[in-house]
Symmetry: D2
Subunit: 348 residues, 4 copies
């Protein structure tokens, strides 16, 4: 069988690098070009040293991109929306890993991104990139917008509860603990190791952009409020979302077991993690490093109508490159897990 | 002036060790005895190696305790309540760092600790150990019960808001990030370094005992609900509490500035930390390692009636040994900051 | 093609768990049984939670082991030598990951292990497990003894220099920095997170047993001395060996380039890492987590006849499970890299 | 008694910040000015947030420095030597924490710093800043040059052995493990958290400048060679030096006990750390965070004439600010430990 010819626009960052790693080992993919304006002509493994001996590819310029079957966009915020027409001439299919085309409503975009969208007409042409919610649409999609990493974790954690209307719509509090790779590969004073090491930093206590995606995907026609905060901890990869929800009716843990099994039992990348003994009783990001899993657990508060829903992913995998490849597999009819079989390490 | 003669019952643990370190450098204190049943006769610096060259004291048995002016209790759960009469014969004044005498209501004790209190009559004889709330009572107290570390952080974070009745009483969500020293000095499978390192572990998503203290101290005659979760992260010392509160009336950040200044401006160990630039804009536990400070910051959610209140302490200092020494200073009329002047490190 | 039927004796530890992970994803292997006396009948994923959804296998007892093609031994020190005859009845081929059969000389064994070997007659029946040194012998071997992790790193770092007789035989100093997984999965006071986190601990400044393997493999008929120390740092997986060697004749860096290329250019799992710019100029263990690579770099001291040779591996992979699977591939004539293609992460 | 009036030239870096913290709590010191060209007029606690509530001082310009009793120089490399005459007009006494005046020989300076010294005539006017070696000279010194952090650790570790001529002069190998604060407060790609976290980086395998200081201080008229390497690990503060020395005559551990006690028993900041049981048997940097101690231990290699000498300090304290304050105390006849009593934390 012919391989699918793909390129990556914007391959020097962490998301682009991890995506390239996955693509190089996918049996049905041929990587044609990877761009980086700052590194044109340089071996890719000079920037992504894990790829030493895995590829001899060099970075191209984005202006030299040749026709390919599918183009992955891993560009900084704003680049995709400004050049999307150009990219459509290069590839019939596009998966955009930036935030440019995640929201459907240009007013919401402006509210959360603090400026106008430059191509609002196309907002509805993209399928929102979480396969567990939009699998069928993806199979025929030409344009997919991968979801934000915090949004992915939160949405998967809460989707069954909101879908079934079981929780109070305006009370949910989501507190995510995130690693430093989420901030990208640009160094700054606050990412300087002596300052960032050991830190527990409230980098976005309110108004995080990913909140808009969560509201969009979990509203189901109702007005909902999601109270989101993000705290950076001393970790490179990984997200743990602790979601506090309040049920309308009394529910027991066995009700949630049933609910989550109903929605996720056939999902290849979702595991319900809830043990009564042992070390790892709830989801933990370190077990998910490099995997495409989203682990989900929960616990009932015996003294109130609160449940705590705990979910975890690797932000660069299920939250970015892995999710994008899962979408790719769906678009082309490959087994959804192809190239994403890695199970994670123990210990790590 | 004569020094106050103090002893520590239970000095091999982390709290006892840190308390001893503070006492050794306090100008008005003479440390008489420090007990540890497992280490009787052993130099204390063999267990607390930071004290090499600082003390030649050896551990005693608790059964050999001699009369002293004040006895600090750093014993495991349950020991204080069972032996309190005995300890009262040893010292007229007692500061208990365990959880045995924190709650006033024996029913609440049973609800959260899952067994009957063995000395309920004495519950009301102890002053709850947070100086910022109970300073006047402490000055004449014979018995003080130091507060739980998570409770201390949460209570100080929210005290002005609850006291003034500004927030919805049943909606507060508190999510604390804690270090491994909170679990004590006993090794276990889950504290084994390869398993614990890098972990982000939902060790107590609901039903944490410290919740009872928070409710007790913040109720002010009303029925309140506090939705508390604790997550362990890869850190040894420190707590960051992210508190989501919902105001009854619209409030601006300047209102909270006024409120917190009113309550805390004269407090020697509380700092309001809220910067618009620089690396450290909100409280961070690593800056507080070894200090007795509680740093508090806040941020308004522009899209709802939520405020996020962020507070941080060192669990072994303001959350245990430091808080106890601050209470000691109050009991004896010393300057409240004596022996607690350490400002913290940068970088660390 | 029929799959090779393999079992693991001793599968609850870190080495056994990582080996199982590799075997489950190897296209030519069927895993029959995995033993753990403490966990008989328990799902393996309860102990190795990364394998949730990857296997439904349960632990067996070692006494229930059935015939298989090859048996991997991941047992504690002493078990292999005492039960080897029994294991030979179970499988014609054995790969032992313990230290029992690494040394050829029973006197050397006694010197370094402080007791007599209980089956000295078999010491010479095992092939020492580093493929880069003993590839041809492995192809027909029935019994292979995987090398110690620190020994593997040191031997691969220095093999070309000792083989060619270029360095002073008695002056080499090797200083390895190791992670906590090297100590196994048993918790102890010294592995308790608050004590072990952040530690830089001289756990074996002299007399490390792996030294005997290094001397055995690098002597080439001469008497050599290797001055070895191991320091534990705050890391779970990984080894960095810094080797100080002193050349007999003046050598330039280009001479070492030639030398290392001659020995290792065709090796699938060795990379020479020596860059003049960028972040990762020499080998680093974090880039090797999960890979079977040994990265090797070097630097000339301009003011003396010293070269510093720097080598790194993942102790659980190239230093244990990966090395064993590489040997397996050689024994059965599979491509040497089968099941070992994972390139490592960036960032991590 | 009048306080000594001191200023700091260059106070925005880590060394200047830690020095300021110490000075603020020294009972005999008044801090007059602290300079930072990039932060003139800004509150110092904006840069060193640990000092919130400890000082209301603002940064001055170096050009506004007023007369004071003693000036500390914490300037970047090259600044001290170029402006030393100017500084001498400001203060009669100077303690320079940079590397500019550590070496006595301008040829050695050029060899290790790769350029000419601009004020070689003054090289011999500075006392080299390790009190344990040059205490008497310091008492009357006007100019002191604080020692390099790695040099301090190495010199204190080996001083008794070299002084007594007990070890082979050309064989010593020193391997130091260092934290990220040693690199200063300027962010870079290699200090970016996702790249620096978890790294074990051979940042200076050969030709480290501090080697020159070690040779200068340990030669005692003989030609010696010291083979030095530095490896960065995931730690902010701290140095562990593992020194491999080879004795001329057979020596036992008891001989080294005697030797080190003879040299160091009366030293207030040196502790011999060598235990046969417990967790902390040798020096560990984490126990020394914030202290002015240098802990030293050793171990005999039973199979050769090697001893391993292990020493540890906090690079910002005994390796910089603490050492400078100790020198200050000597210059003014204060108790050598004034302001340096902090014993360190356990756990941390």
């Amino acid at each position: 069988m012919n391989k699918i010819k793909v390129s990556i626009a914007g391959g020097s960052g962490y998301t682009g690098g991890e995506l390239l790693r996955l693509l190089l080992f996918h049996p049905n993919i041929e990587v044609a070009q990877v761009t980086s304006e700052a590194n044109v002509g340089k071996f890719i493994y000079k920037i992504h040293p894990n790829l030493r001996k895995s590829t001899q590819l060099k970075f191209s310029s984005i202006n030299e991109l040749e026709k390919c079957d599918l183009l992955f966009l891993c560009l900084p915020h704003g680049s995709s929306m400004n050049r999307i027409e150009e990219f459509k001439n290069i590839a019939e299919r596009i998966i955009d890993l930036s935030g440019d085309f995640r929201l459907k409503d240009k007013e919401e975009f402006k509210k959360w991104y603090h400026h106008e969208h430059t191509n609002p007409a196309m907002l509805n042409e993209f399928v929102y990139g979480i396969p567990e919610l939009h699998r069928e649409k993806m199979k025929n999609a030409k344009l997919i917008s991968s979801a934000g990493c915090n949004a992915t974790t939160s949405i998967l954690a809460l989707y069954p509860l909101y879908k079934e209307g079981l929780i109070e719509e305006d009370r949910t509090v989501i507190e995510v603990k995130v690693g430093s790779s989420e901030g990208g590969n640009k160094s700054s004073d606050s990412s300087h190791h002596p300052e960032r090491s050991g830190s527990v930093r409230s980098y976005m206590p309110v108004q995080h952009r990913h909140t808009a995606e969560i509201i969009q995907e979990l509203s189901f026609g109702k007005k909902i409020e999601v109270h989101f905060s993000a705290t950076s901890i001393d970790m490179v990869r990984g997200i743990l979302a602790t979601c506090h929800v309040f049920t309308k009716q009394p529910l027991e843990e066995k009700d949630l077991w049933k609910l989550y099994r109903k929605y996720y039992n056939d999902e290849p990348f979702i595991r319900i993690v809830k043990e009564n003994e042992g070390i790892y009783r709830y989801p933990e990001p370190k077990l998910l490093i490099g995997t495409n899993y989203c682990d989900i657990g929960f616990k009932k508060d015996e003294f109130s109508n609160r449940f705590v829903i705990i979910a975890s992913i690797d932000n660069l995998m299920k939250g970015a490159a892995g999710q994008a490849l899962q979408a790719f597999n769906l678009m082309y009819g490959f087994n959804e897990t192809t190239g994403l079989e890695f199970p994670g390490f123990h210990p790590i």
